[in-house]
Amino acid sequence: MTEKKIQYLRPASLAEALSLKQEFGDRAKYLFGGTFQPRLEENLEVLIDLQDAGLDSMEWNEIGLKIGGMATLKTLEETLGLAGFGEALKIEFGLNVRNSLSLSNFLAQTNGRSPILCCLLALETSVVTLNKPEEVSLLSFLHERTGNDQVIQILVPEPVNFAFDSVGRSPKDLPIVCVAAAQTADGAINIAVGGTMEVTPGFKLHNFDDDGQAEIRAVFADAQDGWASSEYRQEVGAVLLSRTLQKLHLQAGNQEAK
């Protein structure tokens, strides 16, 4: 319900958007693309729609992919081109949501049950927000997010190899346990886990000699909730970790063979 007349603006650049926000302060709200249950707070005077502000661009550099926060999940999936990531994305959302939901709004609303988030954490994704121009890790952003600041760019390092595995009640149900593993150029392997409401920090393996079994059990030690016991998550998390490492190993072997 909005009593006052609201101005609707579509700035053509980020700078213009920031300038408008500075001008109107709390009376203005950004629109970051498609979102779940869009709502407007009362007493707003200005809506700053960012869809023309150039925040949906994509760029590959030597580190990986830079993609704007206004890009959709579908765009990220197609641009990233990682099979495991696509699998996680399709578990979490049907095509309509992948086409509708912006990355920025996804990251503003997601939680630890998200297989997409699990993948992004394994990939050591970092983000830039509207209010903080410097890159911060996705994990830091998630821990500090307040609702007043949103992501305008994410940076996804290109992994050497990547794998994802999960267990759910049905093939496309939100996972009870999921594990993503991303191998970086130095041979180290980032492990991220998901399936619990809280975002759980992952861990790093130095190489394939590490099996990570103790670490993953520790990560899930208190992961009890209405969906699964911690005991189950520990044991099955360990199984999924072994499988993702095997997949990585296989990918690495295939690359060597090539």
């Binding site: 049907g94 509708s100 759910g168 496309k172 209405g226 199984v239």
Partner: protein, 972 residues
């Protein structure tokens, strides 16, 4: 705020509020093909439109954000090819294939699926099945299991490619690609339209997204209703302050329990007298579950109504809740229904939280156990699950020009609505008119008279039209669901596999109100335990005991859900029988068939129980179960798989095991001596007919089946039958769509009415033939091809007979009415097979193949009937592996949306197939029995049995979730 939207290649100006979503603005502009599923996480996809060619959820954008984008809605697709003098391009190829394939059931998600498919085919005219499934993955369908929509998209792609390649298209569609396999054991009559996959009579309007549903009508000055839900599971309302809410601009009415007459009633949409306690008020000074009604508001916009709810101040005095049904009857348990107006039914006793009690003893169970060589006992659990129809409950009420209250509502029981809300709102029945438009799925949940009183009270309070549409969250916290039950089985058998006695005790949770408490749980025993009578001498005197206590708890009320208690019975019964067969070393199929009911035997429960009424013993005449087993067994490859260790393993993946399972099941067809339906038929000038039925098509295709029955008798095409259904002012009475009764009960009424009309047509035709020198009697004449045909082949068109009767001489309206109540309830039977893949390291179960072979008598319309089977199996699949509603110790629900409550998407379905085994049921119209509910019964136990077969894990508590499997395997 003014904006311009570019929709379907045209600009539309709209004055909008900034907070309005694209969905709402499109609907306000008349693009009503985009529907609301009431969800908040975009999970249902009913609101799909194309934005710049891609399917998006229009509920996920403000309308303002859509400016500058190309929006495409279903209204841009094809339309009826002939609009009077104006010809159009007709339906699009996708619309055609959706119509022909039977992809349209309730039709609520059809426009969304069509748009998603169009987007795919525009980019990729040669998609794989996986690509089609991905394209449809954003649109949830609860009716079709996506089987026919996927076939339709692939068929459309083929046609489009053929067109592009200038290949000739077949002049008429080849429907055989969509037809199920039919094995006929017995068919007596040569028929023309019966047994033919006629196009659904409502398919054309639904593929166009026409305003066919309740919320598609909008009135000037219409108000929007919202209901304040209780945050507590059990509490007294000590005070409500509505002053701030009432003061909010745009609020037209705020009602609390203090404003309404206190009329105790039941919400169970059943015939009079309601076979259950009266324990419900429109609003009460006590709340009994999280989600129970506290107050209701009507306002100019939904947003204002919602804001008003937040301004209502309520003082609650909490009372300890009962969440676990096992605590309900314990001494000292809090009393949930302490209101003095409570009216008992049967043995209900609110002082011990007992809503209903069943004690059925058939013959001598104790003697049967004494006869047994072995006795098997086990306890099982079945969860609370939700119907999850995509169209939420929705009702629209207004005063008409005669001061009668009109209720346009998405209901399965329009005549019960009229009768039951009359005392609640203080109007006589004659001042209420209930209209049922198309229904976007109901599955039993709309057998409840759930929300009509809200809109009606608010219309009475304000004098204005009021629309009340539940949100998805309200569907979960405040509608109805399947009764959860703890069930204890005890079965005695001889060493040769003969069952000597069978006993089931069910502790059933009716939730906070006793709607359907007795009847649902009665069916749990009646239609599952009734299948097995034992063998030899026990066939004459089966020993069966079914006891149940149905208790109140502080959880959302349970109610009717397709299958009506029977799926709850088959999980324990069939899992138990599987265990017994394996313990005895018998083939599971042989064991079941050895003890199953056979033709000519009594349905044992008919001698002892009848939904709260007097029982009348009934012999079952048609039993195609053995053939169902034979057909299903061959189709699933049972003989190659069962007991074959090589098939159970997956090469290179030692953690995976395959398994195969079966369940045999029985349902009912209508409630004998109770369910009644009426029909009226009249001829029109052109030889077409109006068929008016009170029967309620909720997407099942019953209007089409009824039209086929009439058309068969009258010798016309289905297109010549104009069906009007479910308007209490203009159609005859019918109990409504439940208990698998429509084809059987209403169909018989239609057949009888049609036979009377046919007789009158023949009488007039005989006169005309005789005048023309062709002497004949009415008995000599047959009706076919829209003509009356004399023995010598002379023909008179029905149009001529109509004109003769209406205009030319001895004028009369050829018409007839009939009604039917049945003394029988002939059961359909089925064998449900499943194969699964089990990950023994994680417990994850993947269902790969589901085949159901069904004896539903003669199949009136194979494509729509197979659609019923497929959709039902998909719901049962969810029941088997992922669907459940869970509450914490305070009664707070875990599931409030279709994300946490997962229903299967198009891109994760196993292969689903249906086979019909046709028997000829003498008592049914053209030999038909019921088809709609039986697919809910067998999939879950078949999956449970397949998991046991795969890895030895016997899961007793439904659903079979990964952790349950993992725990059992770990113990081993």
């Amino acid at each position: 705020m003014n904006l311009t939207l570019h929709i379907n290649h045209k600009d539309y100006q709209a004055e909008v509020r900034p907070e309005q979503r694209l969905l709402g603005v499109l609907r306000a502009l008349g693009f009503l093909g985009a529907k609301s599923g009431g969800c908040v996480k975009g999970e249902c996809g009913a609101c799909t439109v194309l934005m710049d060619g891609d399917p998006i959820n229009s509920c996920m954008f403000f309308a303002l954000q859509a400016q500058g984008h190309e929006i495409e809605t279903i209204e841009n697709a094809g339309q009826h090819p002939q609009q009077g003098w104006k010809l159009t391009d007709g339906y699009s190829i996708l619309q055609q294939t959706f119509i022909e394939s039977g992809s349209v059931q309730c039709g609520y998600c059809t426009p969304a699926m069509l748009l998603a498919a169009k987007s795919l085919l525009d980019k990729n005219p040669d998609p794989t099945e996986a690509e089609v499934r991905d394209a449809l993955s954003g649109v949830l369908c609860r009716c079709t299991a996506y089987v026919k929509p996927v076939q339709a998209v692939l068929a459309a792609a083929e046609k489009i490619r053929a067109l592009e390649n200038s290949d000739n298209l077949a002049s008429s569609p080849d429907l055989s690609v969509y037809e199920p396999k039919i094995f006929t054991l017995d068919q007596r009559e040569a028929t023309t339209t019966i047994g033919k996959s006629e196009i659904k009579v409502d398919a054309a309007k639904l593929v166009q997204g026409k305003p066919a549903f309740t919320a598609d009508w909008q009135f000037p000055g219409m108000l929007y209703a919202k209901v304040l839900a209780s945050p507590y599971a059990h509490a007294y309302i000590r005070n409500i302050d509505t002053s701030q809410a009432k003061a909010l601009e745009g609020v037209a009415a705020v009602l609390t329990w203090e404003d309404l007459p206190r009329v105790v009633h039941s919400t169970a949409g059943q015939s009079d007298p309601i076979p259950g306690p009266l324990d419900t008020f429109s609003l009460d000074n006590k709340v009994r579950f999280v989600g129970d009604r506290v107050a209701m508001v009507a306002a100019e916009t939904p947003e204002i109504a919602e804001k008003a709810l937040s301004l209502i101040k309520v003082d609650y005095e909490e009372v300890p809740p009962i969440i676990d049904m096992r605590e309900a009857m314990k001494p000292g348990a809090p009393m949930i229904h302490d209101e003095p107006e409570y009216i008992n039914f049967g043995e209900s006793d609110p002082s011990i939280n007992l809503a209903a009690k069943i004690r059925i003893n058939i013959n001598d169970v104790d003697e049967g156990f004494a006869d047994a060589d072995r006795i098997f006992e086990q306890e099982y659990w079945v969860p609370k699950v939700q119907q999850a129809h995509i169209e939420p409950h929705v009702a629209l009420t207004w005063w008409d020009e005669d001061d009668r209250l009109v209720v346009r509502t998405s209901t399965q029981v329009p005549f019960h609505v009229r009768r039951m809300i009359a005392p609640v709102i203080g109007l006589p029945v004659k001042r209420i008119r209930v209209i049922k438009p198309r229904i976007g799925g109901g599955f039993g949940n709309k057998q409840e008279v759930l929300i009509e009183d809200v809109a009606a009270h608010l219309t009475i309070a304000t004098g204005r039209p009021v629309l009340y549409e539940m949100t998805r969250e309200e569907e979960f916290i405040a509608s109805r669901s399947r009764h959860p039950m703890h069930i204890r089985m005890k079965t005695g058998v001889k060493n040769d596999g003969t069952m000597t006695a069978n006993e089931m005790y069910a502790l059933s949770d009716t939730g906070a109100y006793g709607c359907h408490a007795l009847t649902v749980t009665g069916n749990t025993g009646q239609k599952s335990m009734g299948l097995y009578v034992g063998d030899g001498e026990y066939r004459l005197k089966p020993n069966i005991r079914f006891y149940a206590d149905i208790v109140y708890t502080n959880t959302p009320p349970s109610g009717a859900y397709r299958g009506y208690g029977v799926p709850q019975g088959y999980w324990p019964l069939d899992r138990h029988f599987e265990m017994i067969a394996r313990e005895l070393g018998m083939d599971p199929l042989e064991f079941r068939l050895k003890n199953a009911l056979r033709a000519g035997e009594f349905q044992p429960f008919s001698t002892a129980w009848n939904e709260g009424r007097e029982p009348v013993p009934e012999i079952v005449h048609t039993v195609g179960l053995e053939e169902c087993v034979r057909q299903g067994r061959a189709a699933i490859g049972w003989d190659e798989k069962f007991g074959n260790e090589a098939w159970h393993t997956v090469a290179g993946k030692p953690h995976l095991r395959r398994g195969i399972g079966v369940a045999t099941v029985m349902q009912g067809t209508a409630i004998p001596y109770l369910d009644m339906g009426g029909a009226h038929i009249k001829i029109n000038d052109d030889g077409s007919f109006n068929l008016m039925v009170g029967a309620t098509d909720l997407g099942t295709g019953s209007d089409t089946a009824l039209a086929q029955i009439a058309a068969e008798v009258l010798g016309v095409n289905v297109e010549d039958m104009i069906v009007t259904s479910s308007d209490t002012d203009t159609t005859p009475f019918d109990v409504g769509a439940y208990a698998s009764s429509t084809t059987y009960i209403s169909g018989t009424a239609v057949k009888r009415a049609a036979e009377q009309v046919a007789e009158r047509i023949k009488q007039r035709a005989a006169v005309i033939f005789t005048e023309r020198g062709c002497e004949c009697t009415p008995q000599d004449i047959v009706l076919r091809d829209k003509h009356a045909v004399a023995p010598d082949g002379e023909r008179i068109s029905l149009a001529e007979i109509a004109m003769d009767s209406l205009h030319w001489r001895k004028q009369e309206q050829i018409m007839a009415s009939a009604s039917y109540v049945s003394p029988n309830s002939p059961p359909p039977f089925a064998a449900q097979f499943a194969t699964v893949l089990v990950d023994v390291e994680t417990g994850q179960v993947t269902v790969e193949d589901l085949i159901m072979a069904v004896d539903s008598g003669v199949i009136i319309n194979p494509i729509t009937a197979s659609g019923q089977i497929e959709g039902g199996i998909a719901q049962a699949l969810g029941y088997g592996v992922c669907e459940e509603m869970v509450y914490d110790e305070n009664g707070q629900p875990r599931e409030r949306d279709l994300v946490d409550y997962h229903i299967f998407r198009a891109d994760e379905m196993p292969r689903i197939r249906s086979i019909f085994v046709q028997t000829y049921e003498e008592t049914g119209p053209f030999g038909a029995k019921a088809v709609a509910e039986i697919p809910l019964d067998g999939a879950a136990p078949a999956i449970g049995n397949a998991v046991l077969d795969a890895c030895g894990a016997s899961i007793l508590d439904n659903p079979v979730t990964p952790e349950k499997v993992w725990r059992v395997l770990k113990k081993r």
